[in-house]
Symmetry: C2
């Protein structure tokens, strides 16, 4: 599963590295934290080394370079904030999604901001960012909409359905610039109920409960 053979499990076999998977995860979380704090350009190998109390040599031995380390760190996070949601109604699903995104926005929004520009310049990084943070949530949202269509809650050709995920991701990234505030659960819930429900033709009173 790991893309680096040098990070190996503690089996009886070769066992040539003392970097256990747990230790590797420490590196990854340090990388992600530093990304959130200062952004991709300001992330330094020295910074990662000092925060994880290891030598730069270890980082270069295991990952080779800064872009590879960041990609590996992203691959280790595969957040599935929304994939478990299935309340039985689209309105309920979207409310839950707003709550979940809002709750996790302290982690994911800064990461997005930190990486979005760098990702648009490096295909490797864009791919890793999409796989780690974007596609899983996108798939979950699309699944909500698809289930709603199958249940007949919304018509299959509802033109607003295409834009549900773009809007959620969008306002999440727009609010910090517009109002200098993170898009929290309350804001996202209000947005979902005020803008997405009517666009989809959903009855706001239908909570799925």
């Amino acid at each position: 599963m790991s893309s680096h053979d040098s990070v190996q499990e503690q089996a009886h076999a070769p066992r040539r590295s003392k970097i256990t998977p747990e230790r590797a995860q420490e590196f990854y979380t340090a990388v992600l934290d530093l990304l959130r704090e200062s952004g991709y350009e300001s992330l330094t190998m020295e910074g990662v080394a000092s925060r994880t109390r290891c030598g730069k040599s270890t980082l270069y031995r295991q990952w080779g370079s800064k872009p590879e380390l960041v990609v590996a760190a992203l691959h280790s996070t595969r957040r599935m904030l929304l994939s478990h949601i299935d309340t039985g109604s689209l309105a309920g699903d979207l409310r839950e999604a707003a709550q979940a995104i809002g709750a996790g926005s302290g982690r994911d929004t800064p990461l997005m901001h930190a990486l979005s520009h760098a990702a648009l310049q490096s295909p490797e990084l864009l791919c890793a960012l999409r796989e780690a943070l974007i596609l899983p949530e996108l798939a979950a949202l699309d699944a909500m909409v698809r289930r709603a269509m199958e249940r007949g809650e919304i018509p299959r050709d509802n033109p607003a359905a295409e834009f549900v995920s773009a809007q959620l991701l969008g306002v999440m990234r727009a609010r910090p610039l517009l109002e200098a505030k993170i898009a929290d659960a309350a804001y996202l819930t209000r947005f979902v109920e005020s803008a997405i429900f009517p666009a989809l033709g959903l009855d706001p009173a239908d909570t799925g409960s």
Copy 2:
């Protein structure tokens, strides 16, 4: 008007600088182009100097440092893409806005991407970015909504009205990450008609013509 007295008009008065306002504008457009191409962190004074065929000394004499140069460049652009729009109906205004944003997205979207993270770390830069690119368009969109309320097209307490600008700015920034494509006029028009119109309760056939 200019925030830098050292860049003076060609009046008969002191005239101590050979940097005419036109020359200053050349510097600013070079800065903005480089920002779009490579982002804020990768923007270098040497890069600006070589592109404008001037010495670094000139840049430091006039603007002092890279952040100040970027802020000055932003102040020089005050785009008013949407402020002139007034078709007489909200639907028409929003269609026009989608067209205008789509037409200018080749210029403004990359700038946004390049500056959004840097802006969230530097209050000066955030302020300049908001004044140059965000607030003018935000004001124009709010004015459209306000006019529609005064005309009675939408109720004054329409809950979706609050999110119009956030939605437009949002999808503009979300699409490159979701679909690896710039949000062009066609996409934005489809979005406005499919998502924003129904959310506001507008009749899509009402074009204001």
